[in-house]
Symmetry: C2
Subunit: 188 residues, 2 copies
């Protein structure tokens, strides 16, 4: 799984074959093909697996944070850094390849929707916001779309400094929602 | 220029050659190569030209809008729809190709920075906000990063409905800044 994502991130969709991934993973091509007959199946499984892993990691990091509005800062940073690593690069190569490849798009579109829903659920949980309040759902969605946009801005150049300034401002914007969310949770 | 962007958006970087573009534009390959010896030069010129054109169009549309906080809604929609068409698709193919191609990256990175600055300047102007106020600059940047993230979300599936809901919420968030901006402009 790691080898598949590394290959995609470094070599792109055209450079990524089951053979190349198998070699990097130190397994035989036959063994890799036994589990994943096509590169589509292999890379989709890899993106799915590593996304779940990343979401689980974030949940673990966030578990150590206190409840209430002081979460807004660290959680905003976590979320806005979510798409700046090789996993996002790998997924981006897949998405862009799928935009001109109908077979790949048919596999990826449902996976994208599923991964999107899971990321959303995790963001709501990490922030501790109450989605039944007007506008909260859209701001959580905007947070993840912003994170993807920041991932894109980080593709060709290191955009860390600018991203940190945006995350600071984003935190002040999220803070009242986080306070309300945890307030209403405490009242329940 | 249009043919180059169409080819990129439909065929991706690998399918886009000076010959293919020339054929679509109805000119000879020799004529195209006289102006643009390499496909790198041709597509970069195309992305640059069409971005300027798009920014000019937005300025013209925005010129008809009234001053003050009522601008926030229509301008938020304009900006968040900015990266949902074939020009963004074309640019995305280039960025992703450049992430595994050092020669292309060396050409694109400065262009990306320049286009980013121009989009920022246009967003400030369209919104009529005052960037000297604390946090305004970051929220304008976040608006454009969000727009790019929404462009990405629109790549494989039509995301218009969700994007409109986010734009509505985004407008309420921008409104106080737009009001302050035009207020201070009037006071000067």
């Amino acid at each position: 799984m790691d080898a598949a994502v590394e290959c995609l991130a470094e070599l792109g969709w055209n450079g990524t074959t089951v053979g190349v991934i198998a070699e990097r993973a130190g397994v035989s091509r036959g063994a890799a093909q036994h589990h994943f007959p096509t590169r589509e199946q292999l890379v989709v499984a890899a993106v799915e697996f590593l996304t779940e892993e990343q979401i689980a990691e974030l949940r673990e990091q966030a578990a150590a944070l206190p409840e209430g509005p002081s979460r807004a800062g660290p959680v905003a940073r976590m979320l806005l850094n979510l798409y700046t690593g090789p996993k996002f690069r790998a997924a981006l190569h897949l998405w862009v390849a799928a935009s001109t490849d109908d077979a790949l798009r048919a596999i990826l579109a449902p996976l994208e929707a599923q991964v999107g829903r899971e990321a959303h659920r995790m963001a709501v949980e990490l922030l501790g916001v109450d989605e039944s309040r007007q506008g909260v759902r859209e701001i959580v969605q905007a947070t993840l779309d912003l994170a993807r946009g920041l991932g894109l801005a980080n593709l060709l150049t290191d955009d860390t400094k600018r991203r940190e300034q945006i995350a600071r401002q984003w935190a002040t914007l999220l803070e009242p929602m986080v306070a309300e969310g945890s307030g209403s949770a405490a009242a329940r």
